[in-house]
């Protein structure tokens, strides 16, 4: 009740703010993964119910199949393309890609190839890729999909 002197608000103590932000930072570093490639094809992956999680991220190689993105369509047309790393490739180049990826893996028998293909891709393209995968002994594959309810 006594009115004594200053009416100034006490300053808020912000010394723990950095710790707080660091905590959020570490949270995001844990739950996210580095984005590996810039996508040059666009795809809507199919939906399924019997899906399993890709477990060892370090042993996974990705193959993207779909039509080129809107920016690249003028240059490359709208036919189905295969993307390996950062460039378009032919099915025959998949073998080299698989060997390269395998070289950089610690556990080479655990290699999994994740196929991220657009819903409307003709099966011929996918069969071509699968044949090459078979020949290069990359037998564990995973058709990427989202969960359907």
């Amino acid at each position: 009740m006594s009115k004594k002197g200053s009416r100034e608000m006490p300053e808020m103590n912000t010394s723990s703010l950095p710790d707080l932000i660091f905590t959020i930072l570490f949270f995001f570093m844990m739950v996210t993964t580095m984005r590996e490639v810039t996508l040059k094809v666009k795809f809507v992956i199919p939906q399924g119910t019997e899906l399993t999680k890709l477990e060892k991220k370090s042993a996974v190689s990705f193959i993207y199949i779909g039509p080129p993105t809107d920016q690249l369509r003028a240059q490359y047309g709208s036919g189905t393309r295969i993307q390996l790393n950062d460039r378009f490739a032919e099915p025959s180049e998949v073998m080299d890609f698989i060997y390269q990826e395998r070289q950089s893996m610690s556990d080479q028998t655990a290699q999994v190839v994740s196929i991220k293909a657009d819903r409307n891709t003709p099966m011929g393209k996918i069969t071509d890729v699968k044949e090459v995968l078979r020949k290069s002994w990359a037998l564990k594959i995973n058709y990427s999909a989202t969960t359907r309810n």
Partner: protein, 199 residues
Amino acid sequence: MGKKKKKVPGLNTSSTADISFMLLIFFLITTSMDTDKGLERRLPKPPENEDVKQEMKIKERNVMEVRLNSQGQVWVKDGGSSEFLNNVAELRNRAKEFVKNEQNLPHFPEKHAKFIEGLGQCFVTDKHVISVQTAPDTPYWIYFYVQNELVAAYNELRDDLSKQKFGGREYSALSDEQKVAVRAYYPQNISEAEPKKYN
């Protein structure tokens, strides 16, 4: 010189928050949070001699043929009858019936006695094959849908078996040895033959 100030001034840390904010934003931009899920499959081993096409001899009653044409229609042949499916969702039950062959029907896969560790003597249909054939212009999603339904059929059969034999537990809750036993009872035999053209 004679001043007696020994106190070191405190480091100004007010900008640490800004620095860590910048790190945070950097990580938010460069990373993605999508958890990758997918349908796991195993491809068959490559043929040892490419010139010699291995012809597997399988009795007709052991084969269920599933063909997908370019219009996305599903054609099934099992037990001597063949037809286009009006509703693709039927496929799961067709496959379950085919693999299970509960009544030991003569046109469904043959059953024979097999000793399985953990289950004892069983009558199993492990010689059956579900063969999926696609045309070159079959859309991927219908192929994926069919694969998903077939895997679902196997998963449901395995769940039923493990519930019945291992005290109401689902397949995923079993121990590793029990899983091996259930897998031996219902092996996944989905073959993907070379794509064929047909009308």
